[in-house]
Amino acid sequence: MRIWSFLSCALLACGDKSDSKPPPVVGATSSAIARSGEFSYKCASAGDAYCSDNALFGASFPEFAVGSQSDFFFKSNAGGAERPIAGVVSTNRLKLEENGRITALLPGKAGILATDANGAPVDAFNLTLRSRAKLKFEALKGVLGFHVWPEDDKGQPLAGALSCEWTIDDPSIARITPGPTSTRIELVPGKNGKTILHLKYAGELNSDIPVEINL
């Protein structure tokens, strides 16, 4: 059943021109608490579901999955270049690495800080961190492909990069695009045949998906 549905997707994909797809959204911004500038979030890697699936972006700043990584920047209203954040309010909740990269450690609210040249905080923003309640995994509509993303207990998609790895047993039957670490992939059909697509996501979801190409 699943194999045949994938096959029909494959046929659609052959005639699909993806050039008309909108460019991927790779971040979001929000005003700082003291309104002296804007904090922005950018995907740390293709393992952030928000960065490979525009549909996940809403109007507001996203909420982040515990255990995920994201990059944060601050741009002052007074001008100057956008700079990576250089501080967090509590190291219990957020781990700050180089170039504004944050690892979310605990669920709840957690403050990030913009700092001046001397390292003194000048403004702040509170991120919302949520535990992953489930991992969603679906076939794409209209193309032969899949996407995966984490959700909280209310079904809200969560941002932040998590480990994501796709592999296929026989790449001559189907090739993974844009790459094996993206949360949203499409398969480019090769020769006819059967093979298995494997997904390892966030260290929790392991899935083996049979694929048959018969063109």
Partner: protein
């Protein structure tokens, strides 16, 4: 005879006692202290010390001083488990400061406000701060209460990840009754 009159003025006459108190107050230095801390966005108000802030986040607070005798606030610093970003301060007698207070870790800290009086010089006001657990709820400001004691605002329960849940409202007769941890 004169002894009787002294006793009468000092201990029996309310008017005389009031005059004595007024004279004492007029001669002493004007006191400056903490009046209240208001988190307008959360609709929270604290009138007792220590001021509570939540661990791990940045909280926007206005601290109002109880004073009628300063000309401006000069500087604000934090120590201990809190940090502070000064957003705006009053430049007149009103004595308030808009701050972003950072609850760095559970425990205590101090915000020190340096005030300037053109006649009396520099004075320091120490505001003790307690950093409490993220899920602690604080007192709802009076203006946020409905006429029949209901609550008209919904607050985001910081840290608990349960936005939209009705806040725990402490007993109005015990304004400092919120749990400390």
């Amino acid at each position: 005879m004169s002894t009787d009159r002294l006793v009468f003025v000092g201990h029996r006459s309310p008017i005389g006692f009031g005059v004595l108190l007024f004279a004492l107050c007029a001669c002493s230095d004007p006191s400056i202290g903490f009046r209240r801390a208001v988190a307008e966005e959360r609709c929270e108000e604290q009138r007792t010390l220590p001021v509570k802030v939540r661990e791990g986040i940045a909280e926007s607070l206005r601290i109002e001083l109880d004073t009628n005798k300063i000309d401006r606030i000069e500087r604000i610093e934090a120590s201990g488990n809190v940090g502070v970003i000064t957003t705006r301060v009053s430049r007149n007698i009103s004595g308030w400061a808009d701050l972003v207070v950072l609850g760095k870790a559970l425990g205590s800290g101090t915000i020190t406000i340096t005030t300037i009086d053109n006649d009396d010089g520099t004075r320091l006001v120490s505001v003790p701060v307690q950093v409490v657990a993220p899920e602690v709820t604080l007192d709802i400001a009076e203006e946020c209460r409905a006429p029949d004691a209901g609550v008209t605002v919904e607050r985001d329960a910081a840290g608990a990840g349960d936005a939209g849940v009705s806040p725990n409202i402490p007993d109005a007769s015990a304004p400092d009754a919120a749990p400390s941890k």
